[in-house]
Subunit: 311 residues, 3 copies
């Protein structure tokens, strides 16, 4: 079993229930992972994912090896048939197969380049590990998805919702740097698995991949979109059509306490205060951002538990 995208969740409601049960007794399965090893490979920086996935593994008694592939290993080549006489020292074909000699599960973080749309959409790094590893692969944020984050978000919403069919708004917000679409993509996909009133709002030109948003409602007027929202998920992303570009930095799109109204505030973190979300919103009781981070552990723990039960 791999956990590569939201598509790997067979029944979201049941997964959320199981994760909440783990959260209430996180150490109960400490014996389950005995003798199992998880290798975390980071091609990019990480705080929450690094620590929560380690913690989740520890809770299950799984031993963890962490490696910053970029700085501690060798530069990887992905091309088929390449004459490797340039900078890259090792081919993914060997690297992936080799890593899996030393562990039972491998987790990968490899962000989008935001320069090569085709390569990013092909999930070059993640899929190369899937293809060559031969052991379960866990996505710790890839070019186009961050399914551990989205699962943690689903847990958070389930814990916090006060009506059967809440209104949930995913709103774009400005940011000084070009950011990937992974978090937004997985959140949208996760929304589709639930019966919720879901709206996406962003400036024109910031449409996400239409294959992903297909049936989702898009409202370009943020104020209208936010009306009567129960949950507001704030996230920046760069343009998808004008791939990786920043088209807009209009601070009117920043989320504030006033705009939020009585809704709960969500963000995957890290968040740039007073650029993406204002202090008054982040510091209010309506903010769920820390609880989202907390639920990262139980999202990862559930996925790891499912994987080792099938080993």
């Amino acid at each position: 079993m791999n956990y590569l995208s939201i598509k790997d969740i067979d029944h979201l409601a049941s997964w959320v229930d199981q994760a909440r049960k783990l959260k209430s007794a996180p150490m109960e399965n400490k014996a389950l992972g005995k003798g199992k090893t998880l290798c975390l490979l980071f091609f990019n920086n990480s705080l929450r994912t690094r620590l929560s996935t380690q913690k989740a593994a520890m809770n299950l008694g799984i031993e963890v090896m962490v490696m910053n592939f970029g700085s501690e290993g060798w530069a990887l080549e992905y091309g088929d048939g390449t004459i490797m006489d340039q900078g890259n020292s090792e081919h993914i074909k060997e690297a992936a197969r080799v890593v899996t000699q030393f562990c039972d599960i491998v987790a990968i973080r490899a962000f989008a380049t935001l320069t090569h749309k085709e390569k990013d959409e092909a999930e070059l790094v993640l899929n190369a590990f899937v293809k060559y590893a031969g052991i379960p692969v866990l996505n710790m944020e890839s070019s186009v998805g961050h399914p551990l984050q989205a699962l943690a978000d689903a847990i958070t919403i389930a814990e916090q919702k006060t009506k059967a069919r809440p209104k949930i708004v995913l709103t774009w917000a400005p940011h000084p740097r070009a950011l990937p679409h992974a978090v937004a993509n997985s959140f949208v996909e996760m929304m589709k698995l639930q019966d919720v009133d879901f709206v996406i709002t962003h400036p024109k030109g910031y449409e996400l991949n239409p294959v992903i948003t297909m049936e989702a409602k898009i409202e370009y007027d943020q104020e209208k979109a936010l009306r009567n929202a129960d949950f507001v998920y704030v996230k920046n992303w760069s343009s998808y059509s004008d791939y990786g570009k920043i088209l807009n930095q209009d601070s009117d799109w920043m989320m504030t306490k006033k705009k939020l109204g009585p809704a709960k505030l969500m963000h995957c973190l890290p968040v740039r205060r007073n650029v993406v979300v204002s202090d008054d919103a982040l510091d209010s009781d309506q903010s769920l951002v820390i609880e989202q981070a907390n639920n990262r552990t139980y999202a990862a723990q559930l996925v790891l538990k499912k994987i080792i039960e099938q080993l």
Copy 2:
């Protein structure tokens, strides 16, 4: 319970006794830390502190996650109300709260900048974690203190002293780089908790923070200061009044075996040989520097034990 400075030691003599007991049977409390997690966050390099704190945690059965915050995480913002449109990606308010979702104790290493006295004295990084973390915080060397080192030094002196009230000299020594005051500060504070004959010696202009040295004897003549010393603690620091500056590199202040006389030699390490201390002093039987490093484990183990007993 936090361990932020020497002030967090309620009864030094009793702590030293307890640490020495741990040293004689370090694995006896292996069950105590079961299911507990310690997160080590490094904003600066480390050898002794990194390994000894890990080892201490292992001895108590605590699981450890180590993170180089600078290179593996996100650049942190500390300002209140900042519009975060510059280099820093995450605010300490989120980072500190988030980290504490994944562990039971957090340990921080964050050196002085030596450029912003006020910021350094405010212990910006350490205190931000204390303020926002909500779990015990352990100081692995902050801007103004290194209390794990000082506790290890107290253990070493207790093991080695042959008279009830030894004479202990803290002497400045030259160094090619501007170094922080943390080690010297904590050593001075630790001296005040004991009935010893304590003297500080350094060139004029190298006075430590007078709030810290307040009642300590200062003798500008190194030769006079060293007379009849039982322990000589050698350490460089940059100027405090002319903050972070190097005013003097006079090699006459280097510690040598001749100057040492029959006294025991102490240094926190790393030490630059033949600049701070001569080879003949470091290589003599009078040197305690390796035993000081060894005692780092038991200092950390005692503090961690006290913290988890109160969790």
Copy 3:
């Protein structure tokens, strides 16, 4: 007991047998390493060695601390009597002694400089740890040897050979960068411990250290050397006589499936595809490169087991 070079193997055939037994039941000695700590110190990058040595330790119940000495610790000085007023902050005399306060075994990776032949041959870093550490030292690739790799290679050959006295060829191959001699050296030394038909082939000027190759057959004609080979070990190295220089990048020396004939292909990895070895050779069933990597775990596990049994 140290494991510094192939010379530390007292009886290769017996070691290989023991390693193969460990491989068949790797978790059987999980209790053996209880309460023991291994410290891995990396002065250079690593993938296989990093993960396999960790995994081997875990299999034995040994706790592991990993440190990238270069980026996480202090720059080391090795000279005797140096006045340390330049870049290096800590002397190996202190660093080595200190590290050993915190662990029971220390493993070191420190590559050849390829600029200072004498320093490289003196195994400056490795031998300094041996001299000052006072605990068992494990070589994770030093300037002149990689004995964990060679032991894994011996295991692989033992598993795969179909005749009592196979023909084994070590062949040089081109590479865009100057590489160390460590892997080739240890392979040659390991060959000498077995009754095999061993041939080394390389262009003129690429003779390895004659002290190491002494009795080995050298054949400058690769085609002739490869005739009737059972195992072909491919490896690039820079010139030894014109120390660290690249004299030849002739792609005619690249290993291909055609050249390989029916022989098994070996390489320590990382390998540059279509420069050192062609795709068709690496992707063929004759390739043992992944199994060699797999056997790294059992080579390390055997050595660690022997070390802790003698602690």
